[in-house]
């Protein structure tokens, strides 16, 4: 009986692996269903407003490429973000280029969990910010929901971004040598 269960388990493993969500494609943010994006760059005080940071109701399109080992996210407003999907911490420069962020991306069967720890504004001596993003797909694969929790000693913020798939994968990411995707 135990042997049968083990064999059954081994048979299911590839199925589980294959069931990991595939985010590849183009995604348009659904502003009506998304929380207002906070200003992730600055935390202004005294009611000051700023031209940087928050995106308000602007059109946001994510272009995502993904393979079994890596995921790349491009949008018009940010530098490309590359994630290695091995569940291990990886160091990379902050946007300022003068501090380090530690990023862990863990692709699970039902979600992608990305955790980033960095100095808040990427400047020396900043308070430590931890961001946990949970990426999940709707059952039909047409809706992407990203729930981000930003933890700073001063406060915790959680906000949700909802995206609608507009195109399937436009290109294949070849993190381990390029093997063309089946048509």
């Amino acid at each position: 009986m135990k042997m049968q269960l083990a064999i059954l388990g081994m048979m299911l493993l590839p199925t589980v692996a294959l069931a990991a969500p595939d985010f590849a494609g183009s995604w348009l943010r659904d502003n009506a269903k998304s929380d207002p994006a906070p200003n992730t760059m600055y935390w202004m005080t005294r009611g000051a407003t700023t031209m940087g940071g928050g995106r308000g109701n602007a059109q946001v399109i994510l272009n995502i490429q993904q393979d079994a080992k890596a995921l790349q996210v491009d949008d018009a407003q940010s530098a490309p973000r590359n994630y290695i999907l091995d569940g291990k911490p990886h160091s990379r420069p902050t946007d300022t280029g003068i501090q380090k962020a530690e990023v862990t991306a863990n692709l699970q069967t039902d979600a992608l969990i990305i955790e980033t720890t960095q100095p808040f504004g990427g400047m020396p001596g900043n308070a430590t910010l931890t961001v946990k993003e949970v990426w999940s797909l709707s059952p039909d694969g047409k809706t992407l929901t990203v729930t981000a929790t930003r933890d700073l000693p001063a406060r915790q913020q959680t906000y949700k971004q909802v995206y609608i798939r507009t195109q399937p994968a436009s290109a294949v990411l070849c993190s381990a040598g390029c093997v063309p995707a089946p048509k």
Partner: protein, 352 residues
Amino acid sequence: MAKNISRRKFFGGAVAGGLAAATPSTIVAQTPAPRRVGLPDVWGQDFLYQWSPPENVKRDLTPGPGVIRLSNSQDITNKEGTDYDAMFKGMRAAGWTACEAASAAWLSRKLPDSEVSEIKAQLKAHDVVFYNIHCAGNIIAPDPQGQQWQRHIIDAVHAAEQMDLRMILTHTGSMYPNRNTAHPLNWSRQAWERSVNALKNICKSTAGSKIKVAIEPVNTEAINNPWAMKRLREDVGDERIMCGLDITNMVYAGTAFRMSELLNTTFELLEGMIAYIHAKDYVWDGMLPGLDWAMNGTGNMDYELFLAHISRIKDPIMYVEFLSTPEEYQQAQRNIRAIASKIGVKIHGTQA
């Protein structure tokens, strides 16, 4: 063969080589060129402003022995009928262990001796330090306002003595009546001399007092950098002249991204003359070199290094200000305490 050489290279080379021949050129070369204040060059100084930090800036995060007391701008009041027990108890409960008063309100009422004793007793009972009268006004304003404000500072010194405070705080001010408006001549010899003379008058009128007269360097005024602060004290010639250090008030485009260096330079230059410190943070968030205040620990201020330097000062007090709501003050305090804890700097008291 004649060779073209720039004046800078010539003078630099002459000084470096220690030339001593008595030619007219070398006599000039032996005279040190006037050094401009500011941070050192990084790269491309002949065609670029030096606004990016160099690599490998020294950041000594070794904590000092000082335990920092936090104060905030929700100033104490001496309104008639104030329950001082409740007031200081509330401060402590919120994590604030020091306080300062705003001069206009504090001086507006003469306190009876019994009330002075009550305030001192309640401060002691709740382990809160009342250390400063934060003065409004403009001591170099066109007269007669300038003279009136000097009188206000002198009155504040006497009020501070009554309460056993360590200091009063003021600015040197502006050539306009409103000290917060930059006048084009605020950095002229005239403004400098007016600043020095105003402070000499204040010191003379309060001779014998132990109350420190702390000056807050501010961009819009003559005293807008640590070098000027140090020189001011020398020119006034009184050791009671101290610095009420608000680093953000000295930041301009040239230092906005070089705070680690500005912190190191400032604390080194002003060693022994920093009366207390303002805690603000800022970002450069616009197209013009416009700086705006940001939540403490989230902006360009190197807050780890800042706290490490402060902890090396005797009996350090840090004043949190320029926030909008009680919640923001609590958020700022949480960030400050977390950053301090990360590098081993001690903050007095606890935050609920």
